[in-house]
Amino acid sequence: MSTDVSDAVELTGSSVAPYSPDNPAPVIEPPRARTKRTPRSSRTNFELYGWLFMRLSGVVLVVLVIGHLLIQLVLDGGVQKVGFAFVAGRWSSPFWQFWDLAMLWLAMLHGGNGLRTVINDYAEQANTRVWLKTLLFTAVAFTIALGSLVIFTFDPNIR
């Protein structure tokens, strides 16, 4: 044991000032402690519906996306055939319009919700979380709005 007993505890290897009874170390709140900043329990089923939506939309997306890839890339001469005329031909049918619209909405919401959980899991600071989610929601809303606009107002005679 060392003989020079002093009040201050030296933290070697750190640049922080030594802590002592006059200069105590900051109190670290245990993660689950209820503080004033702890958000109140939401009492909604949002996360439940989000979880269910991920499962259901995932199953539907498997059909939609694999069908889409087959039509676009494999059947009838593959990707070479895809052009303005091909898209115009498909979107003249309400069935394919609905197919593409469903795929757009489900994929964006499914991916957006997935990224939201990734941000919740990995972003450590509240500020980072807010900014990343703002960016994410803006991007999702913009893509859905733009895609829906194109599908609904598509004009095959545009020149």
């Binding site: 070697t12 089923n45 996360e47």
Partner: protein, 259 residues
């Protein structure tokens, strides 16, 4: 104490036994993650080479270090037989109980790394602050909740009803599951597998009437929906509880409201 009968024989039977016993000892290296906030702000790896019987446990090796080499080594243990749940630690990168892990089972040829469990604040060496863990446990109200008058006799239950939650009664609150969960590592607000397991134990108990309340607590944004089914908890559990399955059953109970 005098031992007259053992003197003058040159080689005593007791010494023979000790030498024969020493023959099967092997030398293992314990690589322990040590941290003392009063000495350094950083944790460091310290190697201890000790002779030990490979059929002994990691806890015995830690005892050997603490009792014979370095008394400042700090770790929790109480019953030392896998019941109290005090000595969960990260051994060779996996959460285990030091008292249930045999040296021979974890490749003693290589250094055996021993770290504190992750996701909880390290206080010293292998001792972590368990307060957040037990706070989450308390938050799910792990006690019998009933309505009406107390019966004069015991609360009876069929064998099938008892079997419904048998798996989750085995929990010893060692925190091996919770501290192996990647969601818990990043964000300690998540209840964690252990709290959900102990909620499951009462939600599916036919005698209990607080299931609705507990489900409502776990329906929160930091409740069961944060589980990503990575199965780390099931792998880590020293009691072999199917933790991820229990969490999935709570999720299903929340959706169907049948339990």
């Amino acid at each position: 104490m005098s031992t007259p009968t053992l003197q003058g024989h040159g080689h005593s039977s007791a010494l023979d036994a000790a030498e024969a016993g020493a023959a099967h000892l092997i030398t293992v290296t314990l690589r322990v993650r040590r941290f003392n906030p009063e000495v350094s702000a950083d944790a460091e790896w310290v190697d201890y080479r000790i002779p030990i019987d490979p059929k002994e446990r990691v806890l015995d090796a830690l005892h050997k270090v603490k009792w014979e080499i370095d008394g400042t080594l700090t770790f929790r243990r109480s019953c030392a037989h896998g019941v109290c749940g005090s000595d969960a630690m990260r051994i060779n990168g996996r959460n285990r109980l030091a008292c249930k892990t045999l040296i021979k089972d974890i490749n003693p040829e290589k250094p055996i790394t021993i770290e504190p469990i992750k996701g909880l604040t390290v206080l010293k060496d292998l001792v972590v602050d368990m307060d957040p863990f037990f706070q989450a446990y308390r938050d799910v109200m792990p006690f019998l909740i009933t309505k009406g008058n107390e019966p004069t006799r015991e609360r009876l239950q069929s064998a099938e009803d008892r079997a419904r939650f048998d798996d989750t009664t085995k929990c010893i609150l060692c925190a091996a599951c919770t501290s192996s969960c990647p969601v818990y590592w990043n964000d300690g607000q998540y209840f964690g597998p252990a709290a959900i397991v102990n909620a499951h134990r009462f939600i599916f108990d036919s005698r209990d009437e607080g299931g609705e309340q507990r489900l409502e607590i776990l329906n929160d944004k930091d409740g069961v929906w944060r589980c990503r089914t990575t199965f780390n908890c099931t792998d880590a559990c020293p009691r072999g509880i199917e933790v991820t399955k229990a969490i999935a059953e709570v999720k299903r109970a929340l959706i169907t409201r049948r339990y």
